[in-house]
Symmetry: C2
Subunit: 239 residues, 2 copies
DNA sequence: TCAAAAGTGTTGCATCTACACCCATGG
DNA sequence: CCATGGGTGTAGATGCAACACTTTTGA
C-alpha cells in the first residue's frame, strides 16, 4: 500500500551522495578517486581501497548541498558544474563480500542499507589544488579508461556518469567547464575528441562552436608556444 | 568527511518512490493521482488530499522494484515502461504546514525526513482497469495541464517528469508506450502533438516514423470509422 | 453525394560533411 | 629556414520544412 495512503513499513536507510569528479589535463579525461588505508582484522597489514568521494547526507541538508560539500572538502572549489544524475538503490550494493569488512570498520551501522545519489561534476584541473590533509586517504586522478576496481558499486556509478557526461556534452555544450578560464578552440576540440572518443573536423568544429553566444574571443593570444599562437576564448556563463 | 572515509553522522531517513503515471486517452495527456480522505483533528469533516501514488521502499527492495510494485498495485499492469528520473531530497519537502497534519495521521514516524525517488511510467489507458479497492483513496486520471494542488512537492515532481517525458519522446521515440497495441499513425501523431504541445506536419511526421525499424504495418485496418479506414501498426519491442 | 480523415511527393532552403593550403611563431 | 599547430572557404550531399489534392469509407 502506497506510502501516501498508509503507514507503510519502516524502512530505515542511510542516504549518501557520491561524486564522480571529472577533470581534463589536455591529454586525458580523468576522474578523482580516493585511496584509503584499509585496516581490517583479517589483514596483517593495511591495504588500499579505492572509492569515489562521497558522504552521508546530513540530517538537514539537501542532496545538492551534500554534493557541493563533498566537492568543496576535496578540491576546495566552489561554483563548479555539478549535476545529479542517478539514484542507486540496489539493496545489496554495499553487501558484497569484498566490501563487508571495510564497511564494518568504517560505519557506525555497517549492517544498515545505504542508498546513494550520484552526482557528477566538472572541474578545471588547473584550478584544482589538492588540500593537504583533508582526507584520511589520498585523492588522485585516474584516467577514465583505466579505473581500478573500487568499493561497492562505484565502478558502475562512474560508467553511468560517463554516459551522462557524453550526452550532456553533445546536448548542452558543457565542455568549457572542464577547461581553464581562457582556452583555445583546439583545446576545446581536443576535449570533445577525448570524451566522445572520436576525431572531429577542425573547420566544422569551429564553425559550430563559434556560432554559440557566450563564447567570447579575448584580446589575447597564447604565448610561448613554438608555433603560431592561438586566439584565446572565454565562456561567458549564462546568468 | 566523506562517508567512504569516515563514520560520518547518522542520517536516518525514509526513502520512498513516487510514480508519475502518464496515460493518453486519444484527446489528452493524463496523470494518475490518488484522492484520499484526510482525517485530521482540526477538521470537523474529512476532506480530500491529492497525491501521487508512492510508497516507502522496503527493506530488501530495489528502487525499480518498489516503483513496479506501486504501479502494479494501482493499475494491475506489469511490463510497463518505467523509468527513474530524479531524486528529490529537499530536507523540508514534507515539512510544509499544509502537509504536517496529514503526515502525522499517516506515518509511524511523521517527524522523520523522507526523500523520494521519482519514476515515471507510461500506460495504455485501454489496458488500465482500476482495481476496485486497492487503495484507501480513489485513483483518477487528471489532465496534465489541469493538475490540482497535491501533497508535499508532488506538483514539482510531475513538472519534472513531464520535462523528462518530452525529452525522451523526442530522443527515444517512446510514444508507442502510451498507445494501444495496434494504432494508426494519426493516433501516434496526435499523441506527439499533445505531449509536445505543438502541431506537426502529417507528411513529414509519417516520413520520419516510417523509417524506424520495429514499427510494423499489420494486415489490418481500422473498422467502423466514418471515413477512410487507416492502416494499423504495431511496435515491435526491441529484444 | 457528402463529410471526414487517410494517404501520398516535390521543391527550396538550411545544414552537415569532406577536404588542403597558407600563416605566425620559436628555436 | 624549419617544424608545429593555427586558421580559413567551398562544393556536394543530406536532411528538414512547407505545401494540396485524391482516396476510401459510412451515413
Amino acid at each position: 500500500m502506497p506510502g501516501t495512503t498508509t503507514t507503510g513499513q519502516a524502512s530505515i536507510m542511510d542516504v549518501s551522495v557520491d561524486c564522480v569528479i571529472f577533470g581534463f589535463d589536455e591529454q586525458k579525461l580523468k576522474v578523482l578517486i580516493i585511496d584509503q588505508k584499509q585496516m581490517v582484522k583479517s589483514m596483517p597489514v593495511a591495504h588500499l581501497q579505492s572509492a569515489l568521494p562521497g558522504d552521508l547526507v546530513r540530517q538537514e541538508e539537501s542532496f545538492d548541498h551534500a554534493a557541493q560539500r563533498v566537492l568543496k572538502e576535496l578540491t576546495n572549489l566552489s561554483g563548479i558544474y555539478l549535476k545529479q544524475f542517478h539514484a542507486f538503490g540496489d539493496p545489496y550494493r554495499v553487501r558484497m563480500k569484498k566490501d563487508q569488512e571495510w564497511l564494518n570498520a568504517l560505519r557506525e551501522n555497517p549492517e544498515r542499507r545505504v542508498v546513494t545519489i550520484g552526482y557528477y561534476s566538472l572541474v578545471n584541473m588547473v584550478d584544482y589544488k589538492p588540500k593537504a590533509s583533508s582526507f584520511a586517504g589520498k585523492a588522485r586522478w585516474v584516467d577514465v579508461y583505466e579505473i581500478p576496481s573500487m568499493a561497492f558499486d562505484h565502478n558502475q556509478i562512474v560508467d553511468k556518469a560517463l554516459d551522462m557526461l557524453r550526452h550532456e556534452l553533445i546536448a548542452d555544450n558543457i565542455g568549457f567547464e572542464l577547461l581553464p578560464e581562457k582556452f583555445t578552440l583546439s583545446q576545446l576540440q581536443h576535449l570533445y575528441e577525448i570524451v566522445l572518443d572520436k576525431k572531429m573536423d577542425k573547420r566544422n568544429f569551429r564553425k559550430n562552436v563559434l556560432k554559440m553566444e557566450n563564447l567570447q574571443p579575448l584580446d589575447e593570444k597564447q604565448k610561448g608556444v613554438l608555433h603560431k599562437p592561438a586566439q584565446l576564448y572565454q565562456y561567458q556563463r549564462k546568468k
